[in-house]
């Protein structure tokens, strides 16, 4: 048999058999295999992608948490500061009010004292006047108990007027 000779019989067998095998393999082997491979690759890719996404989300969540914590801290500080301010303000106000009150009390006490004093003085003055009148009456009564004395005194007063 020549090595290079073309054999029609072999050609026909080979052509038919190969065409049939190609068809069968295509339909029953390659298609399901390639589809399955593709599907699997896609699902793996999907899984990887979603893992990445989860990681990102995780990081985002962590950042969020951090931020929220930071904010809370800041807020707390602010609140503390405010409270401090408020308390000092209240204390100051209280102090001020107290001193004002005290001043007012002192003032009114002083005024009271002043008026008491004035009243007392006035009373004393009146008393003194009364007493002096009484004393004068008593003195006068004593002095003018006798008619002679009254005459003397009149005489004296008359003398004084005459002088004038």
């Amino acid at each position: 048999m020549g090595l290079l000779s073309f054999e029609l019989g072999t050609f026909i067998w080979m052509f038919l058999a190969f065409a049939i095998v190609l068809f069968i393999l295509k339909k029953f082997a390659w298609k399901p295999i390639l589809n399955a491979l593709k599907e699997r690759e896609e699902s793996i890719e999907d899984a990887l992608r979603s893992a990445d996404r989860a990681k990102e989300e995780m990081a985002e969540l962590q950042a969020d948490n951090e931020r929220i914590l930071q904010e809370a801290r800041k807020e707390r500080e602010a609140m503390l500061k405010e409270a401090k301010e408020m308390s000092s303000k209240i204390v100051n106000e209280a102090k001020q009010k107290a001193s004002q009150e005290a001043d007012k009390l002192v003032e009114s006490a002083r005024a009271n004292i002043e008026s008491e004093k004035a009243a007392a003085l006035n009373e004393i003055k009146a008393q003194v006047a009364n007493l002096s009148v009484e004393i004068a009456e008593k003195v006068l009564r004593q002095q003018f108990a006798e008619d002679q004395q009254q005459k003397d005194y009149f005489k004296k007063l008359m003398d004084e007027v005459k002088l004038n």
């Binding site: 048999m1 090595l3 190969f18 390639l34 399955a36």
Partner: protein, 360 residues
């Protein structure tokens, strides 16, 4: 799985029974051989092993030839349709129904008949050794890949296992290293079935050709008709999937001076020849590589016999070196088997890629 094993076993038993039958019958015709005990002819020995045959020779001890008879199918101008087993020829030593195997001349080794005293070849669609080997290899391919495909549907969403995990990386290799780079992401999918089929067909037959015993030992991919069919498929698919850009490139090659196309269409002719040459190169490369490998191995075997004729000691001495070289060659051929399958598939893919390439 079990059924397949059983089937293969049955085939094997039938084959061996047939072998025994053939050899029994042969004894009666042994006298044909005895008078021509010739010197060992290395060239003939090699050709006998590489070429196609009507029966599947397994081994010979002296005049005892063990072979599997194969169906001979002939359509003769004279006697019409004939179908009989090749054992009727008694290894080419006798005629049957006027048909015989030509021992010399133009049709040496082929079934011929005499019409008006002239040797004529009938229309011969015998299932020769190569045809049967090819059919067996196709059965194996079908069995392997249909069961792998079943594994994919049965074990959906699970990791591959067994045969499936053996084939998967190879299939992915063909897809990712051959089809995708050569054809491109967009078009590769519709060529995948063909590429996978030729890749595994060529590889399997190359490997089976290296196994000396049945069902290996046939030189399927080293048969030019077989490689021609493979190349023809590539050519047909390339031609039918050629887009506008591809044909423009052939008949009105861009970037070439107009006087190369008109009035003498030099470039179109060259391009057209290129279109035809590509599959021819595919055909010859595979055929030549596989045949050459087989020839070298057989040449080393022949050396043993040549020196053995000079004396037993010389034969044994040579056998040491020959066997060492044969082992080396067989290992090399294992590599070549894969490389040739790869090259054939890659070049086919490149041609498909050229045919479907978009204008750039």
């Amino acid at each position: 799985m079990k059924n397949i094993h059983r089937l293969l076993l049955i085939v094997f038993f039938i084959a061996s029974a047939a072998t025994a039958f053939a050899s029994d019958e042969h004894d009666k015709h042994a006298h044909h051989d005895t008078h021509k005990k010739e010197k060992f002819q290395a060239g003939e020995f090699i050709m006998d092993h590489i070429a196609d045959a009507y029966d599947w020779h397994i081994f010979s001890i002296g005049d005892f030839h063990a072979s599997i008879p194969l169906p001979v199918i002939l359509v003769s101008e004279q006697s019409g349709f004939n179908m009989f087993m090749s054992s009727k020829f008694y290894h080419g030593h006798s005629a049957y129904k006027g048909f015989y195997i030509a021992q010399e001349g133009e049709f040496k080794g082929k079934v011929v008949e005499k019409i008006n005293g002239q040797e004529v070849r009938p229309f011969d669609i015998s299932m020769t050794k190569n045809v049967v080997a090819m059919l067996i290899s196709m059965m194996i391919l079908l069995w392997i890949f249909i069961s792998v495909a079943k594994a994919y549907t049965r074990r959906k969403g699970q990791a591959p296992k067994g045969l499936q995990s053996v084939m998967e990386p190879i299939i992915i290799f063909v897809r990712d290293e051959i089809a995708k780079p050569a054809i491109g992401e967009k078009n590769y999918e519709r060529f995948m079935p063909f590429l996978l089929t030729i890749f595994f067909f060529i590889w399997l037959n190359n490997l089976m050709g290296l196994v000396p015993l049945f069902p290996g030992g046939a030189n399927v991919t080293g048969n030019i008709t077989v490689t021609m069919v493979l190349a023809l498929f590539t050519f047909i698919i390339t031609t039918f999937s050629g887009n506008k850009n591809y044909w423009v490139h052939i008949f009105n090659t861009p970037g070439v001076p107009w006087w190369l196309k008109f009035p003498v269409p030099l470039m179109p002719v060259v391009e057209f020849m290129g279109m035809i040459t590509k599959p021819i190169v595919l055909m010859v490369r595979l055929f030549a590589n596989i045949t050459a490998g087989h020839m070298i191995v057989l040449a080393f075997v022949s050396l043993i016999f040549i020196f053995g004729e000079k004396g037993a000691a010389a034969g044994f001495g040579t056998s040491v070196f020959s066997v060492a070289f044969i082992v080396f060659m067989d290992i090399l051929e294992l590599l070549v088997a894969l490389i040739q399958a790869f090259v054939f598939t890659l070049l086919s893919a490149l041609y498909f890629g050229m045919a479907t390439e978009e204008h750039h």
